[in-house]
């Protein structure tokens, strides 16, 4: 099919919808089968229109039609039945408004000659029946094809069939709703026609009456894949297969200098020192990269840096824990990381924590969040990568989760009680957790008590009965941390991959769901299996990823690589996180930051408390630890950040510090060549090229003083994108 402009598709959707082809012995029409698809397809029940919680213009429908009873009542019974006129259907408000015959805030959505209009008209004329128990149910959606490979510019029509419990098969291609994850790769029309826009991979989601399915679309970059280079471990095999299929060629291996900087920043959040870089560059050991990875995993900064990440995720904060509680939690966190505790054990200790916070750090989990609902959301988000927030209030439109799932998960936490044991300090505040004799969670809609249930139990994914245990959290912890849990290990693997490669195998890295498929399902599966087989060993996972060739690729982009980074053909540069950047600036300048009430040698990555006041850290996006979303950490750039590096008196004071790196080098009468090399190593982690040496000397000659000139050079290096980015 030739490619057509999007506007043409949009108009097609309304005027030439396929004729309705329901053949049924039951006279019908059926509200769900015949009416709801019209409302959804026309956008009536979208979140921005009548599907919003407050409705629109006094008329409210359930979001995307998840509650047919409610919708029927809204159409037929509410507003004293003004919305439909069975005697003269065409005078019904629900036809006149969207047909553009009466003022309608949402515009003309159902022209009088459209099939949707006729469906509604017919339904009204036949008495506007509502949903009945005996109505046929939608049993499954069948979509063909499911895997599509298209050359750029080519198009393909999807076919969507609905199978009903009364054995009716209905072509609903015209009534399904389509969305593409990557519109610049695959555009999809309202009629279900996919057009390959540009190379890459996209998922097209097809939704119909609460069911959904995903079609994978691949559009190759070229026909000939370049040489992928040797494989360093199983990761590379999976990626190389994808590259070959899509005609992609990876970047060459990063040089030693780039690798040494990258792996330091990724594993320990710390720049390598000039001496460390020199030693690495000097070594002829063919295994020196693998050995460096092992060495870094044993450094004390490893514990600081990953404790910072977990502190962010678990939102450790003095406002919830108090100073002592925070110290207790941090001690547990750091000792867990130092001992490389299996992540299953780590999470079990959090979930099953009880007793006194000051004596037992993981109890903090139950002070950061206190209601069963919040605990359920955090548990799903952090440990499973599942976002449940939507299901608190409504059926998630793109997800399987219902309010039953949400409150079922919350019910595991219903018996938690906080006690003030008065054993220690903290007058008036609770600091102990224990299990109460009773406690329950009720569904806000029905008011019924909800029994605990694992996520996915309703879908038959976790079928077994939940055993009766003294601590209701026990079966939750067992199910959650099991190697067969469909989310737990996968979530940790995906997050870790995202931390190291700058983009998750599933992206966003904390949003695992059927409608957000990975572009690399086999790789994610293989890494997850390996992680489980190695006892949820975090260092093993980090080591495995860092030792892959994929991790060591250079950051160069070429037309044969994917610019979006979806296929990991090259390293994607990303800004250093706030704490890492501040430490890097201080290390390069040879000075120490003074945080309020903390010893001068305290580094920013080792701060356990996110409430420490620092303009630098706030400006560069240190999270406040108020949400479980990874997106809370600001990783973009903005004006204030740039101004603070370009033009701040504070930075100038650091450059001019009488005990700083520059002062020491100048006082030691270091030669120009050595000075320049040392400053390059201390900032960009590499030696200057001959041309750079020359340029620097020429620029320094223009400076009024030697010392001043070197201050300018160090300022320049700290402002280079090459310094501010991890690449």
């Amino acid at each position: 099919m030739p490619s057509l402009p999007g506007r043409f598709w949009a108009s097609l959707a309304l005027v030439c919808a396929a004729p309705c082809s329901v053949h049924s012995q039951d006279a019908g029409p059926h509200f769900v089968r015949d009416v709801l698809p019209v409302l959804t397809k026309s956008g009536c029940n979208a979140g921005a229109c009548h599907g919003s919680f407050q409705g629109r213009g006094g008329f409210r429908l359930s979001l995307l039609g998840f509650d047919p009873q409610f919708d029927h009542a809204a159409l037929v019974a509410e507003a004293r039945g003004r919305r439909i006129f069975p005697a003269a259907p065409e005078h019904s408000l629900i036809l006149r408004k969207p047909a553009g015959l009466m003022a309608h805030g949402g515009g003309r959505r159902l022209p009088a000659d459209s099939d949707g209009y006729r469906r509604l008209q017919d339904w009204i004329a036949r008495g506007a029946p509502g949903p009945r128990g005996a109505d046929p149910r939608l049993t499954r959606l069948e979509i063909t094809p499911r895997d599509v490979e298209l050359q750029p510019g080519k198009a393909l029509a999807l076919k969507v069939q609905a199978h009903w419990s009364d054995n009716v098969t209905e072509d609903v291609t015209a009534w399904a709703v389509y969305d593409s994850t990557q519109e610049h790769v695959a555009a999809v029309s309202p009629r279900g026609d996919i057009e390959a826009k540009g190379p890459g991979r996209s998922a097209v989601m097809v939704r119909y009456l609460g069911q959904f399915a995903v079609v994978n679309v691949s559009v190759p970059y070229g026909t000939v894949a370049g040489p992928p280079g040797p494989r360093h471990n199983f990761i590379d095999g999976h990626l190389q297969a994808t590259w070959a299929k899509l005609g992609l060629s990876p970047a060459p291996l990063a040089g030693d200098a780039e690798f040494v900087r990258r792996v330091h920043l990724d594993l320990i959040g710390t720049l390598p020192t000039p001496d460390e870089i020199r030693a690495f560059n000097r070594s002829n050991d063919p295994d020196k990269r693998a050995k460096l990875i092992d060495h870094l995993l044993d450094r004390s900064e490893y514990v600081d840096y990953w404790a910072l990440k977990w502190g962010d995720l678990l939102r450790a904060h003095r406002r919830a824990l108090g100073e002592k509680g925070l110290a207790s939690f941090s001690a547990w966190l750091k000792s867990s990381l130092r001992g490389n505790k299996g992540m299953d054990q780590f999470v079990r200790e959090l979930l099953l924590a009880q007793g006194n916070l000051y004596a037992h750090g993981p109890v903090a989990f139950y002070f950061v969040d206190q209601t069963p609902e919040d605990l359920a959301e955090t548990t799903a988000q952090i440990f499973l990568g599942v976002r449940m927030q939507c299901a608190k209030c409504h059926h998630h439109p793109f997800e399987a989760w219902s309010q039953e799932d949400y409150y079922g998960l919350a019910a595991f936490f219903a018996r938690i009680e906080r006690k003030d044991t008065k054993e220690e300090g903290r007058y008036g505040g609770a600091q102990s957790i224990r299990l109460g004799a009773r406690g329950e969670v009720r569904h806000p809609g029905t008011g019924q008590v909800v029994a605990p249930r694992w996520l996915g139990q309703s879908l038959g994914q976790s079928g077994e009965k939940i055993p009766d245990t003294p601590d209701p959290r026990q079966p939750l912890a067992d199910w959650l941390t099991s190697g067969s849990n469909p989310y737990f290990a996968r979530n940790l693997v995906n997050r870790t991959w995202g931390y190291l490669l700058g983009r998750g195998l599933v992206e966003p890295i904390d949003d695992l769901r059927a409608t957000n498929p990975s572009a690399h399902p086999e790789l994610l599966e293989a890494l997850t299996k390996d992680f489980v087989a190695h006892g949820f060993d975090m260092k093993h996972l980090l080591r495995t990823i860092c030792n892959s060739r994929a991790y060591k690729l250079a950051s160069e982009l070429a037309p044969t690589r994917d610019a979006d980074g979806l296929f990991f053909t090259h390293r994607r540069p990303r800004r250093l996180p706030a704490e890492v950047l501040l430490d890097a600036v201080n290390q390069a300048a040879g000075v120490q930051e003074k945080f309020d009430k903390l010893p001068p040698e305290t580094r920013a990555i080792s701060l356990a408390d996110s409430s420490i006041s620092s303009y630098f850290l706030d400006t560069f996006g240190k999270p406040k630890r108020t949400t479980t979303c990874e997106c809370e950490r600001g990783d973009g750039s903005d004006l204030s950040q740039v101004l603070h590096l370009v033009n701040s008196d504070k930075l100038q004071q650091k450059l001019a510090d009488p005990n700083g790196r520059l002062a020491r080098l100048v006082n030691a009468k270091t030669s120009d060549a050595d000075m320049i090399e040392d400053l390059y190593l201390a900032t960009l982690s590499r030696t200057p090229t001959a041309q750079e040496q020359e340029t620097v000397r020429r620029l320094l000659a223009a400076a009024p003083s030697r010392r001043g000139g070197y201050e300018d050079l160090l300022w320049t290096l700290l402002n280079c994108a090459e310094f501010v980015f991890n690449h």
Partner: protein
């Protein structure tokens, strides 16, 4: 990202900054930063008419919640425990009175549309109420003021930043305050749309703006030399600017940062010493007076939205003494000076002035001669561009406990502000998690306030 529902009409985002950078980053046609900026300028040219009129805004923020009953909504006939100690005086608007401690303001009521009908429900927590009033969205945060797992919406200034962009080498949104208060930033839109914060006190001798004014320890010449060094040595950036979105984005902010710190307009605007002594005296020789004056200078120079923050209105104790002795005289001075000055310079025609805080204060006086938080009544004053000045919209009941008649919601108020600023309030944006958010949740602009 998937769209929630199939209504795409609202998603016509124009050309977003990020999208432009993506174009700049991915194009092999050599689209570079200047052309990105040009495309952005074209995007701006497509803004609605009010925006092309270039409406500016000065927000006078009464942090803590100024007492409405002791300022602009006096209740002389209420019992003593309500009406308080102050008497009312007549104004240049017949039938409208203000507090006796606002004598200068009494001559400017013709330049104000007083809205007494805005009410909300957050009388407990300051920062939550700030979120209500600066974004329109009701939000219940945890006691620390940071909502756990809930969405932070962008405030008016950040929306202006995103929708209208830079002008004359000056950032669109500047906050004059000791530190950035919660909810005065861009929320889910990301820090790129946060304000430029001016922390230093413009009343201090040798006022300079941290990170903006070139530090004396470095100087102008050396700053220029450093910039040349950076241009020459940052080779890696040049290689990655066009191919890595994050790098290109940062480079754009470098361009803007240099534009700002070297902009003659900005340098002049911050040189508050250039202002004649009598003008500085007229505004008041204190942080707030000089901040209001600086706000006018910044608007003149090209900033679109300036927020002047005061924080001393939380008068739980000694309300009357404190108001009488310092707060009201200060306010009277700089608020009247600003309106007068803007009017005389013809700036009021295209500058919206908002006087507001997070809530009003209790109509009853408490045991410590103070008034506590009260969100059910409130006064918001609007002046300038597009405002029906010289009017009072809505009334409060006899004792100022509730709005008489139907109150306006914070969403109605936000819709009013967006209309005045020429921003389409029905726009939809995406948060970093992909969730769609309406800029304004079905608010209706307060028609009586609009000219």
């Amino acid at each position: 990202m998937f769209n929630l529902g199939s209504v795409k009409a609202r998603n016509c985002d124009g050309v977003s900054r990020r999208a432009l950078l993506r174009v700049g980053g991915l194009s092999l046609l050599g689209l570079n930063l200047p052309s990105v900026l040009a495309a952005q300028a074209r995007a701006q040219a497509r803004q609605p008419a009010a925006a092309r009129r270039d409406v500016n805004c000065i927000l006078l923020w009464m942090g803590g919640g100024a007492s409405n009953i002791d300022t602009f909504d006096m209740k002389p006939d209420a019992p003593a425990e309500y009406r308080g100690e102050f008497r009312q005086i007549a104004t240049n608007l017949p039938g409208v009175h203000v507090c006796e401690h606002l004598p200068r303001m009494s001559r400017h009521l013709d330049k104000i549309c007083q809205i007494r009908s805005i009410a909300h429900r957050e009388s407990g927590d300051h920062v939550a109420a700030v979120h209500y009033m600066l974004t329109g969205y009701p939000q219940r945060p945890d006691p620390s003021g940071q909502p756990a797992n809930s969405v932070i919406y962008p405030c008016y200034g950040s929306v202006v930043n995103r929708e209208l962009g830079w002008r004359n080498s000056l950032p669109p949104y500047v906050v004059l305050s000791g530190k950035l208060a919660p909810y005065t930033g861009a929320g889910y839109m990301g820090s790129a749309y946060n304000p430029l914060l001016v922390r230093n006190d413009p009343n201090a001798p040798h006022f300079a703006v941290e990170d903006v004014s070139i530090p004396t320890s470095v100087g102008v010449e050396r700053t220029a030399r450093r910039r040349r060094m950076l241009d020459e040595l940052d080779v890696w950036r040049r290689r990655h600017d066009r191919v890595a979105e994050a790098v290109g984005e940062r480079s754009q902010f470098y361009q803007q940062a240099y534009d700002l710190i070297t902009s003659p307009a900005a340098i002049r605007a911050f040189r508050i010493d250039d202002e004649p002594a009598r003008v500085r005296d007229r505004y008041g020789r204190h942080r707030y007076g000089q901040s209001a004056l600086l706000a006018r200078r910044l608007i003149e120079a090209g900033v679109r939205f300036v927020s002047v923050e005061t924080s001393w209105w939380d008068t739980h104790v000694n309300n009357f003494t404190d108001l009488k002795n310092s707060r009201l005289p200060n306010l009277d001075q700089f608020y009247s000076a600003l309106l007068e000055d803007l009017d005389q310079r013809g700036l009021l025609d295209n500058t919206l002035v908002i006087w507001m805080g997070e809530f009003g204060r209790t109509p009853t006086v408490n045991g410590q001669a103070g008034r506590d938080h009260w969100a059910y009544t409130n006064v918001v004053n609007l002046s300038g561009a597009g405002v029906r000045m010289g009017t009072v919209v809505g009334q409060t009941e006899r004792r100022c406990e509730r709005v008489a008649g139907t109150p306006h919601s914070t969403h109605d108020f936000a819709a009013t502000i967006y209309q005045l600023l020429g921003i389409d309030a029905t726009r939809e944006y995406r948060g970093p998690d992909g969730r769609p958010h309406l800029l304004n949740y079905h608010g209706t602009p307060i028609a009586q306030a609009l000219a």
